[in-house]
């Protein structure tokens, strides 16, 4: 199982029956693949659909039914289409149960930076600032380090996405929960030792006596 699959499988366990969930582009979107088929969940795409479905069959794509990355999708039974004002009203107004986003950095306060690298990459924040500010739970799904550079740091050096403390950080090495006291190590990745996690993390980690290994189906 590669790093991304470990992350997607673990994040999928956070999804509960009846939730409205927004998945970001890329790695976060893989989470949908590991949610049980019989679980009644609606996925929102912020460009205006509640009830995002799988990719359509080849040749059956509709130009007016896409996800937030512009990729062709389908809609599940019970889906609804909405405009951008309602879509972000749902996000900002506390109606979105969970969002899963990628991250460039997360710090000891649980602050997330994920929308720009000054001088290098300025894609724009899109819906990320609204999602992190407004969703009931914010889960950061990212690889633990970028080419050896820690992404979980004492304080973000990149521009913040929001002041809101994220709910959970899931990497291929660890599940970490930001709390009032700091970052608490909750779970270890498959075959990963606590010392390895501490070594790959620049931020201070609070390590409980027992840190169980992720249970991945």
């Amino acid at each position: 199982m590669d790093a991304k699959e470990v992350i997607a499988r673990r994040v999928a366990q956070e999804v509960r029956e009846g939730m409205l969930v927004n998945l970001g582009i890329g790695l976060p979107s893989m989470v949908a693949n590991f949610v049980p088929d019989d679980m009644r969940v609606f996925f929102q795409a912020e460009n205006g659909v509640i009830g995002l479905g799988q990719r359509p069959p080849d040749g059956m794509e509709d130009r007016d039914l896409t996800d937030a990355g512009g990729g062709f999708v389908t809609a599940v039974p019970g889906a609804a289409s909405i405009d951008s004002a309602m879509s972000f009203g749902l996000i900002r107004g506390g109606h979105l149960d969970m969002t899963v986003l990628g991250g460039l950095q997360v710090d000891e306060k649980g602050h997330l930076a994920n929308w720009m690298v000054p001088g290098k990459m300025v894609p724009g924040m899109g819906g990320a600032m609204d999602l992190v500010t407004g969703a009931r739970r914010v889960i950061v799904a990212m690889v633990h380090a970028a080419k050896g550079d820690p992404k979980i740091v004492p304080e973000c050096t990149l521009p913040l996405t929001a002041l809101r403390r994220v709910s959970l950080i899931v990497t291929e090495m660890a599940v970490i929960e930001p709390t009032d006291e700091g970052l608490v190590l909750r779970e270890r990745g498959p075959g990963v030792a606590v010392e390895d996690i501490v070594a790959a993390t620049a931020a201070r980690l609070i390590v409980p006596d027992e840190v169980p290994e992720m249970v991945l189906a």
């Binding site: 795409a45 912020e46 460009n47 205006g48 659909v49 509709d62 130009r63 007016d64 039914l65 896409t66 937030a68 990355g69 512009g70 809609a75 289409s81 909405i82 405009d83 951008s84 004002a85 972000f88 009203g89 996000i91 900002r92 300025v122 894609p123 724009g124 924040m125 899109g126 819906g127 990320a128 600032m129 609204d130 500010t133 407004g134 521009p159 913040l160 996405t161 929001a162 002041l163």
Partner: protein, 217 residues
């Protein structure tokens, strides 16, 4: 009853330097033929307010390629390297606005409100230079309304009085923008006799629409 304009006639109405609200999300729901007509006419200096600038060679990206845009106010340019290139070269001014804030600023402009109070952007670069307002113990950022000289709207269909119906993820910014400009030009896929669009299906009442683009041949 409104007269159907040819794309070139519609483009003629739009002067150099106009402020344009353009519907669409990565090109989905954009007024494709109006954009082509603007590129063909070649008059520019526009301020474009839209969710994004699509991709090079596509939709709003064509206006960027043709260097008809002096400034854009958008939430995302990550999929258009040409927009980023012109921005870095100093040829194009780009104001990045969180997506939910952008749509609400346009809505405020369209519905006569003096601004938007939102927690999105607090503590980030988005908040720089903007006043904050405290309401019932919570702090919000004051974001100003946005209006355009023209709104260029993509719709699924309209009738002879200009009532508009949208489809699936092609709603996005369109219904909101149709309220926020001095002149509204709608580009429908289909034009129907009055009575064919049920009143409950109308998302933009025809009284808001000044001009209709002729049918797609």
């Amino acid at each position: 009853m409104k007269r159907a304009l040819k794309p070139a006639e519609a483009a003629e109405m739009i002067p150099e330097g106009a402020v344009l609200l353009i519907g669409g999300f990565m090109g989905v729901g954009s007024p494709h033929r109006l954009i082509d007509a603007l590129v063909e006419r070649g008059v520019g200096g526009f301020t474009v307010i839209a969710n994004d600038t699509a991709r090079p060679g596509k939709d709003i990206g064509k206006l960027i390629d043709a260097r008809l845009v002096a400034k854009c106010i958008v939430s995302h340019i990550g999929l258009n390297p040409e927009t980023q290139r012109q921005m870095i070269a100093g040829d194009l001014e780009v104001e990045l606005v969180p997506q939910g804030t952008l749509v609400e600023r346009i809505r405020a402009g369209g519905v006569g409100l003096g601004g938007v109070l939102t927690a999105t952007g607090l503590g980030t670069v988005v908040a720089e230079g903007k006043p904050t307002v405290e309401v019932d113990g919570k702090t919000y950022l004051l974001e100003k309304p946005i209006r355009g000289d023209f709104a260029l709207i993509g719709a699924r269909q309209c009738d002879y009085v200009g009532n508009l119906e949208y489809t699936l993820t092609a709603h996005n910014f369109n219904p909101v923008m149709a309220m926020a400009a001095d002149t509204v030009i709608a580009e429908p896929h289909h034009i129907m006799p009055v009575g064919m669009i049920p009143p409950d299906a109308v998302k933009t009442p025809g009284v808001l629409v000044d001009h209709i683009l002729e049918r797609l041949i």
